[in-house]
């Protein structure tokens, strides 16, 4: 079976616009891109901004809109397209069943990455998580996903929700800690650039097959109560950051007090 050649994309935000470019770059230009609002940049596909202008006879429709707009967009799309078409959304945290009232053939095609207006991620590395209740539809989505990236995973709703939850920790929550570091330096008139190499290296040293706990260092890890006390004193004027410090410090301490196979890491 060859990859579906007639794909329509609904949504032209950060995810949608990167996907449109990727399909074009891979030699599978999209049939159409729909977005309610005008596009902010040139698009490598014909653009429409009225639902009624969406072609009815594509093979696959990908819905890349904010989570809370998926059902609404699906309802409008349903009256417009051929009932044999396959419709998938690109959300990590939304069950595929949100599409079931509207379409016979539906599923999920979730690229697990953070997309921003200014950066083009390396699509060859991005895991794309697909799911569909029908085996045939799943196979089609696997082919669509394989256009985006060679790393295609079949995960059900429950597994995808778990991945999305973990992603909140390593992306959204981590970004808030970056912001906290920024704030701490700004308060002292110090440039954020000081932290940048550390931020990049901390991420770069993580390995795909090993618990990052093996790389854990710092005062909480080594039980350096004196430094922890000094840090808490320095944060005394900032109760929210102080609480964050205490909470994560005690989480690290509680984890590392448990039996833990310290194979190859010597704490510094």
């Amino acid at each position: 079976m060859s990859a579906p050649a007639r794909i329509v994309l609904i949504g032209a935000g950060n995810v949608g616009s990167r996907l449109a470019q990727r399909f074009a770059d891979q030699g599978y230009p999209l049939l159409q891109v729909f977005s309610r609002s005008p596009l902010k940049r040139a698009f490598p596909a014909p653009f429409v901004n009225r639902i009624s202008d969406i072609v009815p006879d594509a093979e696959v429709y990908l819905i890349a809109v904010p989570d809370d707009a998926i059902a609404d967009v699906a309802a409008q799309l349903a009256g417009q397209i051929h009932p044999g078409a396959l419709v998938a959304h690109t959300s990590g945290s939304t069950p595929s069943a949100v599409l079931s009232p509207f379409f016979e053939h539906f599923g999920v095609c979730y690229p697990l990455q953070t997309f921003s207006p200014e950066r083009i991620p390396d699509f060859n590395e991005i895991p794309v998580c697909v799911d569909a209740p029908s085996r045939v539809d799943l196979e089609v989505l696997q082919q669509v996903a394989a256009i985006i990236s060679p790393r295609v995973y079949h995960l059900d709703d429950r597994q995808r929700a778990r991945v999305h939850l973990a992603a909140v920790f390593v992306n959204n929550f981590v970004n808030h800690l970056y912001h906290t570091g920024f704030q701490l330096l700004k308060e002292a008139d110090l440039p954020f650039e000081l932290l940048l190499p550390l931020i990049r290296e901390t991420a770069a040293k993580i390995k795909p097959d090993s618990d990052p706990a093996y790389l854990q260092t710092g005062p909480a890890r080594r039980g350096d109560e004196q430094t922890i006390r000094r840090h808490l004193e320095a944060l005394a004027g900032n109760p929210e950051v102080e609480q964050l410090y205490q909470q994560i410090t005690s989480a690290i301490q509680s984890f590392h007090q448990k039996p833990f196979p310290h194979a190859h890491h010597r704490p510094d």
Copy 2:
């Protein structure tokens, strides 16, 4: 003034061993490296493991040992070396004054990076923070630091302590969130490799001159209470991770409820 050519390094852990290699690579091989324990790998400098074998007449002695061992090492070194020598430690959180009882010339030379046995960081990017009470000693340390990296900063104890505190957030605490992501996937038999591109991209998109808050996304940022509730339900069996989720979520919400100049970021 030319860079000091006679430098002795005390300590051969993660920091010490990378520094020794860097000095050699830069054309300034160290005069000696001292370590109490035998070396784990070949060193690009003569190695001694008795204090009494340390040469007394180097220009600079760099102490790269764990924070709580600095004073002890300094006390031993003091009886051994020429009083005109300059002695500096490499610690972020230790005041330079810890060396003042032992030496006339002392200071700090703190490379702000996480060093691990298996990775060679890009030294050209590493900020090196120097300080010394005497102007002449400071200039010498600036020259030593410039051998390590072109990015040399003069920060006093207070500023360096602040940078170290911020580093705990973006390095130690971030690593614990990586571990939490690992655990969440492991509990569901999902491979950690799924999160790796996201981890790297989240770090890569940070800019040196802009608050990471501009890049904040996710359920907390966009006030998606339904997803937050679903995540908390999923964490119900894991009170510690649940508490961490709640705490960081409310920190994000509280920050983003305040007036905040949302210049160029459209939350997704």
